[in-house]
């Protein structure tokens, strides 16, 4: 790395003052970045810090609003990923770009101008096999993509780029979909690619991975570069602090004194994700009446599975969930609603609300089975109107017209409707996932107020969020989730950026880095 000959040569890729905004929101601001030949350069940052945008700019998918990009010291203007590929830059996206019913070899040939009109399956397969073996990345070239595991599919994505002989590989959160063993194999391949003189950009949230595989780290926060260091010199706690922010605003309110009996008790919970891996892996947690427990963590560490496991939308494969002393682990969603679990899901329109029904219908979405909404098997349309009008007024839901599909309301009004319904039904627990995500300042304040009002009414609130400001503003107690387990716990008043950042990126407190 520290070969003086290399330092004098211009960087493989250099970005100067890159700005990129989407609809007035800055995703990248004034970003300078340089990638040397033969290095693995990690991009570190929280969700929404602008890592993926930056990668997409380099890969030609987005064009920056301003700023310039140089390759080997020459200014380049990439108009498309095709241009980038021709210039030797390739990216492995989080969602693979593979044709699932074609073979590995066929996928490699796809879009390669050198393949021409005639395909020689055997030649393609031989080349694919040779490439795989060279990087210790064995994949059966005759296998069809759908037959492969996610880890193997990722290898195909990388091989596809190597087949096009790219010099610069961008891997956007490649380990998010991998088992630890697959991750290690990926890291070995990354090192051997770098040793050949190729340059790699590695996006991750996980400090230990960054420590293990990268040569340099650039930390992004809110679209800006907040630091660039050689990995060897970087202390994990410094990186964590840079990632999360200088100083966290500590909550100004007093923690709730009137914390009551435990209401929601989760013991050794195990919930598998859609791929069958245990996303929640032996997690225990207690939320008491009148308490807000905030779950902090980088997205994809089991938050979704935890919430859906508790409310009954995902199958619990181990452990137990108790509600006020009664076991509700495997009761139906409806039973759990009746027992008093209110849930504000992250996906408002796709799950919390029926997009095509109007606001009044949506406000009755859970209680329509009981009076006054229904009378035996018949609906009482009048109750829909009167109760609906009450909630629309009480929660200041705007833009409502009878018959107007709720999906046409703004995000803030959608969330107000959703929360109005959840907090006005009989309940003892409120589970909320990222309740203020994407909302404007006004709606955010309303939603936060509602959550604190819930706490003051003696409801046990479980707040799952990736937004630390939100967690600190609302929680009495903070719990950090990492890879499906609770890795740390603290009163909100004792939370520091460094502590949270380390825990969230997988450094347990007992084992300093």
């Amino acid at each position: 790395m520290a070969d003086p000959a290399q330092i004098s040569t211009p960087p493989a890729v250099e970005l100067r003052k890159i700005d990129k905004s989407f609809y007035g929101v800055l995703a990248n601001a004034d970003v300078d970045f340089s990638l040397s030949r033969g290095e693995v350069h990690a991009l570190l940052g929280e969700n929404g810090a602008g890592k993926s945008t930056l990668c997409s700019v380099i890969a030609g998918l987005y064009r920056p609003d301003s700023g310039e990009m140089l390759m080997d010291g020459e200014v380049v203007d990439l108009k498309s990923p095709k241009d980038a590929l021709a210039a030797g830059i390739g990216m492995v996206y989080q969602h693979f770009r593979l044709v699932s019913n074609l073979t590995v070899a066929e996928n490699l040939a796809l879009g390669n101008p050198e393949v021409g009109l005639r395909l020689s399956q055997s030649e393609l397969e031989a080349e694919a096999r040779e490439l795989g073996e060279r990087y210790d990345f064995p994949v059966d070239p005759t296998a069809r993509i759908w037959q492969l595991s996610v880890g193997q599919q990722q290898r195909v994505e990388i091989l596809k780029l190597l087949y096009r002989n790219v010099r610069i590989l961008i891997l956007d959160e490649p380990t998010a979909v991998l088992t630890p063993q697959e991750g290690q194999a990926l890291f070995r391949a990354m090192r051997s690619l770098a040793d050949e003189g190729r340059s790699l950009i590695f996006v991750s949230h996980k400090l230990h991975e960054v420590k293990q595989v990268s040569d340099r780290v650039t930390v992004l926060r809110e679209g800006r570069v907040v630091g660039e260091v050689a990995t060897a010199d970087a202390e994990p706690r410094d990186l964590a602090r840079m990632m999360v922010g200088k100083d966290l605003e500590l909550p100004t309110r007093e923690p709730n004194a009137a914390i009551g009996e435990p209401v929601l008790v989760v013991k050794d919970l195990v919930v598998a994700d859609d791929r069958g891996l245990d996303a929640v892996d032996g997690l225990s947690l207690t939320v008491s009446a009148g308490e807000v427990v905030g779950i902090a963590g980088v997205s994809g560490n089991g938050q979704r599975e935890l919430a859906q496991g508790i409310v009954g939308l995902m199958k619990v494969s181990g452990g137990s969930v108790e509600l006020s002393g009664k076991d509700v682990t495997s009761t139906s969603v409806l039973r759990k609603i009746k027992r008093g679990i209110a849930y504000v899901p992250q996906n408002r329109l796709g799950m919390g609300l029926a997009p095509g029904l109007d606001t009044e219908d949506n406000l009755a979405l859970k209680q329509f089975r009981e009076p006054p909404y229904s009378n035996g098997p018949m609906l009482n349309q009048k109750a829909f109107k009167t109760k609906g009008a009450e909630l629309i007024k009480g929660f200041d839901i705007r833009g409502v017209r009878p018959g107007l599909p709720i999906r046409l309301l703004s995000g803030g009004n959608l969330q107000k409707a959703l929360i109005a319904r959840e907090v006005t039904q009989d309940h003892c627990v409120l589970i909320a996932r990222s309740p203020t995500r994407g909302l404007d300042v006004g709606a955010t304040a309303v939603v936060r107020e509602q959550i604190l009002a819930e706490r003051d009414r003696g409801i046990a609130v479980l707040l799952i969020s990736e937004d630390l400001d939100e967690l600190l503003a609302l929680s009495d107690r903070l719990v950090v989730i990492y890879e499906g387990k609770i890795v740390g716990e603290m009163p909100a008043s004792e939370a520091t950026a460094e502590r949270l950042g380390l825990l969230m990126s997988g450094h347990s407190e007992e084992q300093p880095a």
Binding site: I337, P377, P405
Partner: protein, 371 residues
């Protein structure tokens, strides 16, 4: 501003627009049909007069139009209730045929002395059961194993059709009339199981069909179960979230859809046909029901007039041959109506307007200010 028109979602279409646009679509299709007739050297006024006359010009014509409309109402409801829940049951055809097989079977098996009230109800109900059973062959694998119902319902149409033909034309099954010596025919069902006619060939089956359409509307919009149905039709995830057992709901809807199509079969057998007649049951009524449902925008009440319109067109076709116009003209009209209706649907959902130049500038300034 480079764009000359702006297309944007309308949000909430007014009720009169929902009425005017479909009527306009039909008129537009007729204009197109007239142009086609004129270009091919026909007197389009005469053709339209002849068609109107055949369909509505006499008591017999009206009766025949309604006879044609009856099964279309039922297959239309069958398609609409399934499609509204995103269940793509395109097996109305097969469910109708299997309903007919069941109805004819029961109608043949019943003793001649069965009281008429019981016999009619049992035979008609047997059709609904048969249709639901045929639908269950696709519904159960879909709900519990995730098979694709488009494929299974479509394939089962051919199986039902061949089964019916085998029972009458290819074997000496109880469905075949042993007394038909010339050409194989279906065996007549008992006289007491026939649905009484009240106006020319029109029988009470029409009211069963209208009753089913009204009942479908009532259940969907007025009952608790219908509210659950609407939620499921909106989003499976939302329905699960609201504590609705989605698989059960989908299964129930699929079976109800099959039952409606099956009723069309039994009403034909117990009504105008009096037996299982493979030629008269193989008219694509299940498929036409899909068109009826689409034109009615999946609204069960709107299905009734749309089915009458389609019935009228079917009924008018043969009369055109007397003036030397091929009855395929009717199919051209039906196709044109469908195309215009789809285009009209776009107008109901979206509005098209001229861009407002000042609004564009205002937006640009606002963007400049935020940036």
């Amino acid at each position: 501003m480079s764009r000359r028109f702006i297309v944007e979602p309308r949000g909430l279409a007014s009720w009169w627009l929902k009425l005017v646009i479909p009527i306009g679509s039909v008129l537009a299709a007729m204009v197109l049909g007239a142009a086609f007739l004129a270009l091919t050297g026909n007197d389009w006024i005469e053709v339209y007069q002849k068609m109107a006359d055949a369909a509505f010009g006499s008591g017999r014509g009206v009766a025949e139009t309604l006879v044609s409309a009856t099964p279309l109402i039922l297959t239309g409801v069958a398609a609409a209730v399934a499609f509204k829940m995103l269940v793509w049951n395109i097996g109305g055809e097969g469910q109708l045929i299997f309903g007919a097989i069941m109805a004819a079977g029961v109608g043949i098996w019943l003793s001649e002395s069965t009281p008429a009230v019981i016999a009619v109800v049992v035979v008609v109900a047997a059709g609904a059961v048969g249709g639901a059973f045929w639908a269950s062959l696709s519904a159960v694998p879909k709900v519990y194993l995730g098979t694709n119902e488009i494929i299974t319902t479509l394939m089962l149409n051919f199986i039902a059709l061949n089964l019916m033909q085998y029972l009458v034309l290819g074997s000496s099954s109880p469905w075949r009339d042993p007394e038909a010596t010339q050409f194989p025919q279906g065996r007549p069902i008992i006289e007491n199981a026939r649905i009484p006619e009240f106006f020319h060939r029109l029988d009470w089956g029409l009211f069963v069909a209208i009753g089913v359409a009204v009942a479908a509307w009532f259940v969907i919009s007025k009952t608790r179960s219908g509210f659950e149905y609407r939620i499921v039709g909106n989003s499976f995830d939302t329905a699960r979230y609201a504590g609705i057992r989605v698989p059960r709901k989908v299964l129930g809807t699929f079976l109800a859809s099959g039952a409606a199509a099956g009723l069309a079969g039994s009403i034909l057998v117990a009504g105008i046909l009096g037996k299982m007649d493979p030629r008269s049951l193989d008219l694509g009524l299940g498929f036409t029901g899909i068109i009826v449902a689409a034109l009615a925008r999946l609204n069960p009440i709107a299905i009734i007039p749309v089915a009458v319109l389609m019935g009228a067109l079917n009924n008018a076709g043969p009369s055109l041959q007397s003036i030397g116009v091929p009855d395929a003209t009717v199919q051209i009209l039906q196709g044109a109506i469908l195309i215009f209706a789809v285009a009209g649907e776009f107008l109901i959902l979206n509005r098209i307007r001229r861009p407002d130049p000042t609004a564009g500038e205002a937006k640009a300034t606002a963007e400049a200010q935020t940036a």
